[in-house]
């Protein structure tokens, strides 16, 4: 008895094969993790199971479903209709007359740990990310599917919520005898919860096996090592010049205080982690440090300048000393600019004017520091992979030789192997005397990389 079976399924987009000769059987109540990096074909497999492949995709082979197949999406805010109350959306997924559907929807909300009296009348934007994903799961379960496909269901959630949502999905599979296909790039997540592991690479199954035995298979073991990779740090330089001093920082929106008296220092060559729950002001703090917003009170001192008091040449000098790398390497580079122009952009902050040759030399130098060729400068960001784009963003930060680089979840969108390389690169920057302020959710990673970790909660460090 199988709940879902793929028989030699292939998916092609034009000339590109996204999935090749993919065979997999799921038994009722079984949890199978489909692991792979970006572009490995795991989402194509998931969409094929649902018959949701986009126009232009060609599918071969056979998929046998023993009952309904439902899906939990990556981004719950996009998967819910923003104009419809949550209760009605869940009821819509129930195949029953209206009065019955409402009762069943209420039960579905209870099953995912939500109180229907409190949430059913609300709109999606009034719920937290975790609550939204629970609603998404309630909708998927309301149709009593034989198979549930969850495509990266927790990437938009913080670590605590992730654990709860995964536990909920696994429990639903066990209790209902429903097969769960967990599609994820996160091996760490899969190894705790799945019965079986299927590792995809470039559209092909490279390894498959029962857990925990599968963790010793060579490719899986390599992947695990990359995930747990801790970069080597040199000794901290004895020169403990502060590059950033934050004192009494207060800021808020609409009368709500997000930051309430933040104080800390960062010294040359230091790598400092900044962690804290979502919505606790990490991003606000970054925007203040970068001078993108003006605080209601307090000071941010960079290279001897109070970021929010100085003007003109002094402000440019302050700006030159603090640069940033953002989370999404796709969105942080202007798609209409060539890489050379992107990397050169902050050079407007350089004291004095630079000749064409000097600018070009600096750009090539910055690209070399992040391991890219000088001829990358002539191409557009679209020609590069996610990891390479993040290196370009880092080169743009390095080109003005800053004292501090602020990283906003700068490695969370990267695959394990690329991320391990990036962490080594960052550790090397720390050794060369550049201070890093690294905002992240990933506590294990930052514990390995950082010299010090700041916890932000209730607007304080």
């Amino acid at each position: 008895m199988t709940a879902l079976a793929f028989h030699q399924v292939g998916v092609r987009y034009g000339d590109r094969a996204a999935l090749v000769d993919f065979s997999l059987e799921l038994a009722p109540g079984e949890v199978v993790a489909l692991i792979g990096e970006t572009g490995s074909g795991k989402s194509s497999a998931a969409l094929a199971a649902l018959g949701l492949l986009p126009d232009g995709a060609r599918i071969e082979g056979q998929i046998v479903r023993s009952g309904r197949v439902a899906m939990v999406f990556q981004e719950p805010l996009l998967a819910l209709d923003p104009l419809m109350r949550v209760g009605r959306q869940v009821a819509e997924a129930v195949r029953a007359p209206r009065a019955q559907a409402r009762a069943r929807a209420a039960q579905a909300l209870i099953d995912v740990g939500l109180d229907p009296a409190r949430v059913a009348r609300r709109y999606p934007h009034e719920l937290s990310g975790g609550q939204r994903q629970r609603v998404g799961i309630a909708m998927a379960l309301a149709g009593e599917p034989a198979v549930l496909v969850a495509d990266e269901p927790t990437t938009a959630l913080d670590p605590d919520t992730t654990a709860q949502v995964i536990a909920l999905l696994v429990a639903a599979a066990r209790n209902r005898g429903m097969a769960l296909l967990l599609v994820t790039h996160d091996l760490a997540l899969a190894r705790c919860h799945a019965d079986r592991l299927v590792l995809l690479d470039a559209g092909r199954v490279v390894e498959t096996g029962r857990l925990p035995a599968a963790l010793t298979l060579p490719r899986t073991a390599t992947l695990l090592a990359q995930i747990d990779h801790v970069p080597q740090r040199g000794p901290l330089s004895p020169d403990r010049q502060p590059v950033l001093t934050v004192r009494g920082l207060v800021h808020g929106y609409d009368g709500r205080r997000v930051l309430d008296g933040i104080e800390f220092d960062i010294h040359a060559g230091e790598i400092v982690g900044l962690i804290g729950p979502s919505g606790e002001g990490k991003s606000t703090l970054l925007r203040l440090v970068l001078g993108l917003e003006t605080p209601q009170a307090g000071t941010v001192t960079i290279a001897g300048h109070d970021m929010h008091k100085v003007h003109g040449a002094q402000l440019r000098d302050a700006r030159r000393h603090v640069q940033a790398v953002f989370q999404d390497p796709g969105a942080s580079l202007d798609p209409h600019w060539r890489v050379g122009r992107i990397v050169a952009e902050p050079l407007g902050l350089w004291p004095g004017s630079l000749s064409r040759q000097a600018t070009h030399a600096k750009v090539c130098d910055a690209l070399a520091r992040v391991g890219l060729d000088g001829d990358a400068a002539g191409r557009y960001p679209g020609a590069f992979s996610g990891g390479q784009r993040q290196r370009i963003a880092l080169a743009r930060a390095l080109v003005v030789e800053p004292a501090l680089i602020v990283l906003d979840e700068a490695t969370s969108a990267l695959d394990a192997a690329v991320r391990a390389d990036m962490l080594d690169l960052l550790a090397g920057l720390g050794d060369s005397g550049i201070a890093l302020l690294f905002v992240t959710h990933d506590q294990a990673m930052i514990a390995g990389l950082a010299d010090r970790v700041l916890h932000l909660s209730d607007g304080r460090v």
Binding site: L315, S332, E345, P346
Partner: protein, 267 residues
């Protein structure tokens, strides 16, 4: 794809004759030849002649270049004014944004025909007054499209990166935001171009646009109005030309918008 081809073919169908008419028409459109009046289609006059003996094909071609000229000038002026307004509004949230966009609202609320009458009363009727009226009417359209497309760009991380690089908001608007909103603005310009053609014909028909003896599709329709019973061909020819031109530009804009959505969906 099929719509794109259809749009391109229909657009070419009036743009090419309009360009040819700038240097050559089969007959002189100002030459009146009463002896040859009201002829049906023949080898000498492919689409026949009008009550003054002018060649209808030549009138149609010359009219196309006048209409195209007025529409192009109007859209170019509206783009030159509207896009910067939208860009500045998106770059300066707060009272500058409010001032600019409420101003655009007021302009938008003003009926186009009223505007045209006002302008021809003050400037005297003519091609320039028609172009000006159409341009003014389109300024708020482009201001809104530009602002709407620009707002999400302002929250993109690459704009934050540019600000950290010390660029001013106006520089960012010019170098980062403008190239990234070009596609929707071009699509809108194509659609508004079709509307401008229609508006020009309407204004000339009402006597507020191009003045005789300069030919125009709207004038041809107005002249044919009283003869519609005896020579429906005279009204049909410019009418069909307007339909072809407007649908061509609209199809083109539609197809461009569609292909843009598709490529964006893939990215």
């Amino acid at each position: 794809m099929r719509r794109l081809v259809a749009g391109l073919v229909l657009t070419a169908l009036f743009v090419v004759p309009a360009l040819v008419a700038l240097v050559w028409t089969p007959w002189d459109v100002t030459a009146i030849d009463v002896a040859a009046r009201m002829q049906g289609p023949s080898l000498r006059h492919w689409l026949g002649t009008d009550p003054l003996g002018r060649d209808v094909l030549s009138l149609l071609m010359a009219g196309a270049s006048v209409s195209l000229g007025v529409a192009t000038a109007a859209i170019a002026a509206a783009l030159a004014l509207g896009v910067p307004i939208g860009l500045i509004a998106s770059a300066r949230p707060g009272w500058i944004d409010d001032l600019l966009m409420r101003g655009a609202d007021v302009l938008f609320a003003f009926p186009g025909l009223l505007l045209a009458i006002l302008l021809s009363a003050t400037l005297g009727p003519g091609a320039i007054d028609a172009a000006l009226a159409i341009a003014l009417f389109n300024v708020p359209v482009f201001a809104r499209v530009a602002r709407g497309a620009a707002l999400p760009i302002w929250s993109a991380p690459f704009v934050a990166a540019a600000r950290i690089a010390g660029r001013s908001r106006l520089t960012i608007a010019r170098t980062h935001v403008l190239p990234n909103i070009a596609a929707p603005v071009i699509v809108q310009a194509s659609i508004q171009g079709g509307m401008a053609l229609l508006a020009e014909a309407g204004l000339s028909f009402a006597g507020l646009g191009v003045q005789p003896p300069a030919p125009s599709w709207g004038r041809m329709l107005a002249d044919a109005q009283t003869l519609i019973g005896s020579a429906p061909r005279l009204a049909l020819v410019p009418g069909l030309a307007i339909v072809v031109a407007v649908s061509g530009l609209t199809l083109l804009g539609d197809a461009l918008a569609d292909s843009r959505r598709r490529t964006r969906g893939r990215g």
